[in-house]
């Protein structure tokens, strides 16, 4: 079959006659050139159109971060502690004090605007002492803290139990009472 191959030896490429004859056979190909080029172009266009992964994930990351912040703030809002109620005990004024000597009752906004040092419980009439007084942090806002109510004392307060503006800091009225 292959007597024509003999004698043989390696050529400059290192192939013998047998190898050259084998290599002369052309492999059959069913690969479609145009289809490959079309698919390659299609894939290139897709890869060019698609942004980098960091850019692709930028907006989802921002949206996720904002969602986490919103959920966290919602949870904090739902679990916010109830407003603290502070009770101020006011010493009853002496019965012998003539009512005519009492000054004009101060209106609530005036009380709210006064400082704690200038507050004089004797200036409040008996009927006003039964009304809860609410101090607003800001005008027109729902009170957050403090909420102060005036409650009549069941018994006369001692000097040590005097007017307490703050729980932790007993207010010393001094000579004002």
């Amino acid at each position: 079959m292959s007597s024509s191959l003999e004698p043989e030896g390696s050529d400059e490429s290192g192939l013998s006659g047998f190898e050259r004859s084998l290599g002369s056979l052309k492999p059959a190909s069913r690969v479609q050139r145009d289809r490959i080029l079309f698919l390659a172009g299609q894939r290139q266009a897709k890869s060019l159109k698609r942004p980098h992964w960091s850019a692709r994930n930028l907006w989802p990351a921002i949206a996720a971060s904002l969602a986490v912040v919103s959920i966290g703030q919602g949870v904090l809002l739902a679990r916010r502690p109830t407003p603290e109620v502070r009770t101020v005990y006011v010493r009853m004024p002496p019965e012998s004090a003539p009512s005519s000597e009492r000054p004009e009752p101060a209106s609530m906004p005036q009380i709210a605007s006064r400082s704690a040092v200038a507050f004089d419980p004797r200036a409040i009439p008996a009927v006003d002492r039964r009304l809860p007084l609410t101090f607003f942090d800001e005008p027109g806002r729902t009170p957050n803290s403090p909420v102060i109510a005036l409650v009549p004392a069941e018994k006369p307060l001692t000097a040590a139990e005097g007017l307490k503006i703050r729980r932790s800091e007993p207010f010393d009225l001094g000579d004002s009472l």
Binding site: S16, G23, A28, R33, Q44
Partner: protein
């Protein structure tokens, strides 16, 4: 991105050899080769040696495709062996393409892939060694052993100068 003209030249020049190379492992060789060229087209930077890169991708794809097809259907391997012809019919050739195909298919895969990559793919022994992750001398031994076996199976006597230990050599 690779130049389309270069891609077209690579397809014209190497697609048949790559398909023959892939056919050593699987029946869907044209799909493997097509995917390799498409992957080459979308690479950010063209490989230094595109041909060697293509052979490596085709080899990996063909091996995987062969494993997958054997898992899917056991008889597909036999169907692939009896599938399309590996070589074009050529009246001027000294060998019958069908005989070459059957003989080549009877070789171990280690020898077959080296012979196909060297004879039809045009890869050097060094490139094949890098492709199959072995030494150049090992690749050369496989190639020589495969050629000797092909000679024996095809009834081609071996010249005394190239292989003096060949038992078919009358000298």
């Amino acid at each position: 991105m690779i130049d389309p003209e270069l891609l077209g030249r690579l397809i014209d020049r190497h697609a048949p050899a790559l398909e023959l190379y892939a056919r050593q492992w699987c029946g869907s060789a044209e799909d493997v080769v097509q995917e390799a060229f498409v992957r080459l087209a979308v690479l950010e930077t063209t490989p230094e040696n595109p041909v060697a890169w293509l052979f490596r991708v085709v080899r990996n794809g063909a091996v995987n495709a062969g494993i997958a097809s054997r898992r899917r259907k056991r008889h597909e391997e036999a169907a692939a062996a009896n599938g399309p012809a590996w070589f074009q019919p050529d009246a001027g050739s000294e060998f019958d393409p069908d005989i070459v195909q059957v003989t080549l298919a009877s070789l171990p895969i280690e020898q077959r892939e080296v012979i196909v990559a060297h004879l039809w793919g045009g890869l050097s022994f060094q490139e094949i060694a890098e492709l199959v992750h072995t030494s150049r001398s090992s690749v050369h031994r496989r190639y020589q052993a495969g050629i000797v076996t092909l000679r024996e199976l095809m009834g081609v006597s071996c010249p005394a100068r190239s292989n003096p230990k060949d038992p078919t050599n009358p000298a």
